[in-house]
């Protein structure tokens, strides 16, 4: 597979073939196929319970697939996820947990410091730089539970970046973020996309229209054409995508150039 990718220019960083997954006999993902090129910014939309979070979990090796194959940078998930930065939903967090912002971000260095190794000065430098990049440096000593949703999201992004990833996975990055902060976070993601491939699962259709490069719609099955257009097929799968899509009449852009100017 990797060879095909190389032959035609940009390489595939994620490849999913014939993936089935579920819980206790209930199928959540059915024959999902996806090829993501390096440098892409993929937005996956779909209804609640459509399998978006399960899909991310399978890609990260947190949930075993029933069938099918997932490759990340040509490797199996447990190898490949070393190159993936993961940004979970901020809502799933215990506000009482005693931890400071700095220590949350430094957790992203765990993959670089195995058991019985201490964090190094290099780790601290990476953490400091990333806290500045996401605009959270002044908050480094604050308890994580005291932050607003948008601030926590930025800390999670910094933590994921501390992994020094080639790919970034984001699960509903704007679920509990106030509107003015949203633009801020999207601008950050767009800047990051200059060097990192991004796969984002979201409800936020506004974001889909103005920030991502390609769109997919996931509701058990995945409809994805590596383009930015929200196709009639996606809409016909109907129940698949939320109604506001039709109501607001998103500006349908023409196909985004595949692979973004061959990087």
């Amino acid at each position: 597979m990797m060879q095909e990718g190389r032959a035609t220019g940009p390489r595939e960083v994620i490849s999913v073939r014939g993936l089935w997954a579920g819980y206790d006999g209930e199928i959540v993902l059915q024959d999902v196929n996806l090829l993501v090129q390096e440098g892409d910014f993929v937005g996956l939309i779909g209804p609640n319970g459509g399998g978006k979070t399960t899909f991310l979990k399978v890609l990260l090796g947190l949930h075993p697939p029933l069938r099918g194959e997932v490759r990340i940078l040509g490797m199996g998930v447990k190898e490949g996820r070393r190159y993936v930065g993961y940004v979970p939903q901020v809502a799933e967090f215990d506000r009482e947990f005693p931890i400071q912002v700095w220590d949350v971000v430094r957790m992203g260095r765990l993959g670089h410091r195995r058991l019985l190794r201490r964090f190094t000065r290099e780790d601290d430098e990476v953490v400091a730089e990333l806290l500045r990049e996401v605009g959270m440096w002044e908050h480094r000593d604050r308890p994580f539970g005291e932050l607003s949703g948008g601030q926590r999201q930025r800390v999670y992004i910094a933590r994921a970046l501390a992994q020094e990833p080639k790919i970034l996975f984001l699960d509903e990055p704007l679920a509990s973020v106030d509107p003015e902060m949203r633009t801020n976070i999207y601008d950050l993601l767009q800047r990051l996309n200059e060097r990192i491939t991004i796969l984002m699962v979201t409800h936020d259709l506004g974001a889909i229209s103005s920030y991502v490069k390609t769109v997919g719609c996931l509701n058990r099955r995945l409809i994805y054409h590596a383009s930015k257009e929200i196709t009639a097929e996606m809409l016909e799968e109907g129940y698949a995508c939320p109604v506001d899509l039709i109501a607001h009449g998103l500006p349908h852009r023409v196909f985004a150039p595949h692979g973004e100017e061959g990087r």
């Binding site: 990260l60 090796g61 947190l62 996820r81 947990f97 005693p98 400071q100 201490r118 933590r159």
Partner: protein, 268 residues
């Protein structure tokens, strides 16, 4: 209190309280932030099965408690990690079976069982010197393991999925944590008794959690509070001739009430 210090048993008791407090501060913090109080209670009570084994086969019941509480920690841990439903029911069953096994084995053991109650309700005043050494050894082991794997324990407690993605050996560390809880139970058994272990494991840590900014400080503050509560409780039990373990717990509970009220005032 000062005149009490001339007795060796009183000095030993204070030392025992100190040793217990270290273990319960460090491990208690992990128990509280991970919300595994129930499973910890199960491990503590099941340890009684080991006491029964010790009496029945005629070896030191403390070693029986060590073996049995570690075995039940691993069993309960496996149940909690592997079964999707009703893990708490199964843990409750193992909790009760461990205790019942201990009681039956003691029934089957002939002769007078002098210090039996001390395992259940604690008797800090009769802790022998060699047991203090054992407690010290267990304490050192607990602190060493937590210190060596601190960054990983912090990670699995804060965000297990993220730790897994970073290829931290989540499962192994989780089991290790439960074994540390088992060892802590054994350290604490002589001071407050198996039945009240859970209170001393959670109360100082819960108070510390209200004030500490990070997990390390929560552990340190919890240990300090443990020393305060065991010392005050010991003094009160000496002064008013009360059961030491229960008195220590009541002092700790009073501390919890005061701290909670204080927190409310401070956050206003």
């Amino acid at each position: 209190m000062m005149e009490a210090l001339q007795y060796e048993f009183m000095r030993n008791a204070l030392l025992a309280g100190f040793l217990v407090s270290i273990a319960c501060g460090v491990i208690g913090a992990l128990v509280v932030v991970n919300r595994i109080v129930f499973i910890s209670g199960g491990i503590a009570h099941a340890a009684y099965g080991g006491i029964g084994l010790g009496y029945y086969f005629g070896f030191n019941p403390v070693w029986g408690a060590v073996a049995f509480s570690i075995a039940s920690a691993l069993g309960m841990g496996a149940v909690q990690r592997r079964t999707r439903q009703r893990a708490d029911t199964l843990i409750g069953v193992m909790w009760a079976v461990g205790m019942a096994l201990g009681i039956v084995l003691l029934d089957l053991t002939p002769g007078y069982k002098a210090d039996l109650m001390s395992y259940l309700f604690g008797s800090i005043l009769t802790v022998p010197r060699e047991e203090l050494l054992l407690m010290l050894g267990l304490d050192l082991a607990i602190v060493a393991v937590v210190a060596l794997f601190y960054k990983e324990f912090l990670a699995i407690s804060f965000d297990e999925a993220f730790a897994e993605v970073e290829n931290v050996p989540v499962e192994a560390l989780w089991m290790a944590l439960l074994c540390l809880i088992a060892l802590t139970v054994v350290v604490m058994m002589r001071v407050v008794g198996l039945i009240l272990v859970i209170a001393l494991l959670t109360i100082p840590a819960a108070i510390a959690g209200q004030f500490a900014r990070d997990l390390k400080r929560m552990m340190a503050l919890g240990s300090g509070l443990g020393v305060l509560f065991t010392t005050l409780g010991l003094w009160a039990s000496y002064a008013f001739n009360l059961t030491s373990g229960a008195t220590i717990i009541l002092v700790a509970a009073a501390g919890f009430a005061v701290a909670t009220a204080l927190r409310r005032v401070l956050s206003r």
